[in-house]
Subunit: 225 residues, 2 copies
DNA sequence: TCAAAAGTGTTAGATTTACACCCATGA
DNA sequence: TCATGGGTGTAAATCTAACACTTTTGA
């Protein structure tokens, strides 16, 4: 059966992950210095090779788990990157994925062990190979996704204040939003439910904590921010 | 240098093309019966393997040129598809692309030589492997693209009537549009320019022919349909 | 002469935007 | 007591959607 396929050249396939986090009012991604050749020491996305016995999505999930220790992260494919010489060593086609994580759930020790850092999305350094391009496309897709589906919560703690949510959207859109209009729209979405809990960290007065209710969303899935 | 890479398994990478055309008021794509194993005889997208010396975009362009004889088609990546067993023969990761072609520019003899047919987008048969999934995603991305960028013209002759353009958008959106509102919006877009030419095929009275003016669009690139 | 497609404006309703003050509390 | 962030409603402006008739001409 390999007769037909054999005429064509095989290549390595890797996955590279753009991992978004939101902290101190800023949207950030994880990057680290490459610890292997080629490109050792250059800033780079975290990635890995696709194994023969796993799908590309499984590979991305494995790489994400390896780095963060977290499962079931929100993750979407960004696309395949396949210039002939994108990898200086060998022909490698890479499939980029972006993921959303809640920074507070990520063990900072684990982060340091892997030598990765949170960098502000607007201050990304020159990255290895075509990784800057991947980040750009991931950012565009992520913004588009957050504006049409309620996944922004994946970047926040499971309980969050409306101010946190608003600041998140402001960071993603890169523009300020009107507080009253924002809250008016949130109120119409019954799946963003107010709890009895009060956050006292963010202000003296205290702010109501909200949570995303998936069950209600499934019944009434309309979202626009 | 291959020492590091060598530990990982290489795979075949192919491209598969969803080629959209618009004819007789219907949105269609090109599919053919597979002429090779595995899956011989099944309906399938047209595709090919990525060679060692070409980028994935180049591979897609080559495959498109091979099939249509046309260069510089509008083409965008749909994404990578990489289940372990998506190809019954060997591990093959495939990158899907969609393209827009103007049906009248495609030599029908060439089409027949390749054994491909235009099938209505709403009547796609069961396709080989995960190709139906590719078509679905391509369609979604294409609709999104057509609503925010003036690329619908790539599915029409270079001179077209507003009725043709409206029917195209109706086919893409799957819903009827109001003629007066549609034409009002078109009039605001100066890059859709009226010519002195009249189409007499579509009606007795004759309809004005329009063309897309790229230069004007670049100066004033705002589009929404 | 009539069937068939081309072409053209107005209005009501819905949505979006702009905007400012009082409240509760810890320091 | 005061500085800080939390919380609330209204009105003007803009955008969207609904709607019907006249024109031209080839058959």
């Amino acid at each position: 059966m390999t007769g037909f396929y054999g005429e064509h050249s095989k290549v390595w396939v890797s996955v590279d992950c753009i991992i978004f986090g939101f902290d101190e009012g800023k949207l950030r991604i994880l990057v680290g210095k490459r610890q292997m050749d080629p490109g050792r020491g250059e800033w780079s996305l975290y990635g890995g090779f696709v194994r023969g016995d796993e799908s590309i999505d499984d590979a991305a999930n494995r790489v994400l788990y390896d780095l963060t220790g977290l499962r079931n992260l929100y993750m979407r494919q960004v696309g395949a990157f396949g210039s002939v010489d994108r990898d200086p060593g060998e022909r490698v086609i890479s499939i980029a994925y972006y993921a959303l994580i809640s920074v507070n759930e990520y063990d900072d020790q684990l982060r340091k062990q892997h030598g990765v850092e949170w960098v502000n999305i607007d201050e990304i350094p020159r990255l290895y190979s075509d990784h800057n391009e991947m980040v750009l496309k991931a950012r565009k897709l992520m913004r588009q996704k957050l504006s049409t589906e309620p996944v922004g919560f994946r970047l926040l703690p499971s309980l969050f204040t409306l101010t946190q949510l608003q600041h998140l959207y402001e960071a993603v859109y890169g523009e300020e939003l009107d507080k009253r209009n924002f809250r008016k729209r949130i109120k119409e979405m019954n799946f963003i439910e107010k709890t009895e809990l009060i956050d006292k960290k963010g202000s003296k007065r205290g702010a109501a904590l909200y949570r995303f209710n998936k069950r209600i969303y499934n019944e009434e899935p309309s979202f626009k921010l």
